[in-house]
């Protein structure tokens, strides 16, 4: 069985994560688009932490006999992987866009200079 203190601590941690994400969106330091995966992570972890029977049941399903909170770690790690992967795609898109911008600026600068010297 999951110790009660572990459930309480894990629930608190999830709530803190959710509050931080909320505050980051509110103060416009995090766009809604990039917050969704974090919010999903927080909600899933909160549900698994607070819903003790659920955690025990899932632990049994996946063959965790001795210590159900291990499932929390596993789920948390999976979500962190998902967030990291998502951000890798975001970074790739950003770097594509910044090279397009650099090229456009260079082309514009040349056009301006060549027009000016005529």
């Amino acid at each position: 069985m999951t110790p009660v203190t572990v459930s309480i601590a894990a629930s608190l941690a999830s709530i803190i994560l959710l509050v931080i994400v909320f505050e980051l969106i509110r103060s416009r330091r995090l766009r809604e688009r990039y917050a969704l995966l974090w919010l999903l992570t927080g909600v899933v972890l909160l549900v698994l932490s607070a819903w003790r029977d659920g955690l025990n049941t899932i632990a049994r399903w996946v063959g965790v006999q001795t210590y159900p909170p291990a499932v929390l770690f596993a789920v948390g790690s999976l979500f962190i992987l998902a967030v990291l992967l998502h951000y890798s795609t975001v970074i790739s898109k950003l770097s594509d866009q910044s090279s397009i911008l650099a090229q456009r600026v260079a082309l514009l600068e040349t056009r301006l200079n060549e027009n000016g010297s005529r």
């Binding site: 969106i25 809604e32 688009r33 969704l36 919010l39 866009q97 456009r104």
Partner: protein, 241 residues
Amino acid sequence: MSSLRRIAIVPALNEEGAIGRVVDEIRAYDPGLEIVVIDDGSVDSTTDVAREHGAHVLRLPFNLGIGGSVQTGFRYAYENGFELAVRADGDGQHDPAQLGAVLEPVLRGEVDIAVGSRYLERREGYRSSVTRRIGIRLLARIVSALTRQRITDPTSGFQALNRKAITLFAADYPHDYPEVEALVMVIRHRLRLKEVPVSMRPRAAGRSSIRTLSSVYYMVKVLLALFVGSFRRNVVPLEEK
């Protein structure tokens, strides 16, 4: 119709089939209306077609999404001193013949922003698919509650704005799918807003930028933004130069 400097802001993404007619129809409605088409990273000849039909074209180097491209238009209007702006979409859904209905309340000085609504009156014309209308209804309820004003078509992009509203949107405009959040923003900044009945047409060509999977994202994102936004203080709009 008036001596105000006025501009039509037309966002377009891969609309080479429709954009020419949209530009022509806007010009036919009011030759004194300047037209700026914002090409949001199209891979077809949207920019060329719009230029051939005599519009100013702002070609974005890559896709910014509807929010980013429409705001580009508001910035253009703001920096070039326009006093009146209308937004009409480049897919031809917004019938330029009905621009008058949207412009009228703003021209009279009655409101700062007027929004064309498909659902304010029972009318013929395009009313969107059933699933979308359910979503629009839900958003309308929420926005009406948040603004304490009856809103029937919260996703409508068929709008007319005065200088005050242009200034606000040039300074701050929501990302991605902006219309719903923008309504709440407008009311929170104490601008006067009114819906006017219009009918819309089905799109002339091309396809909507909002498809099935992204409509799920649309709802989640907009609901989240509305929720978080209601805990946000106002941003100070740009000062007039």
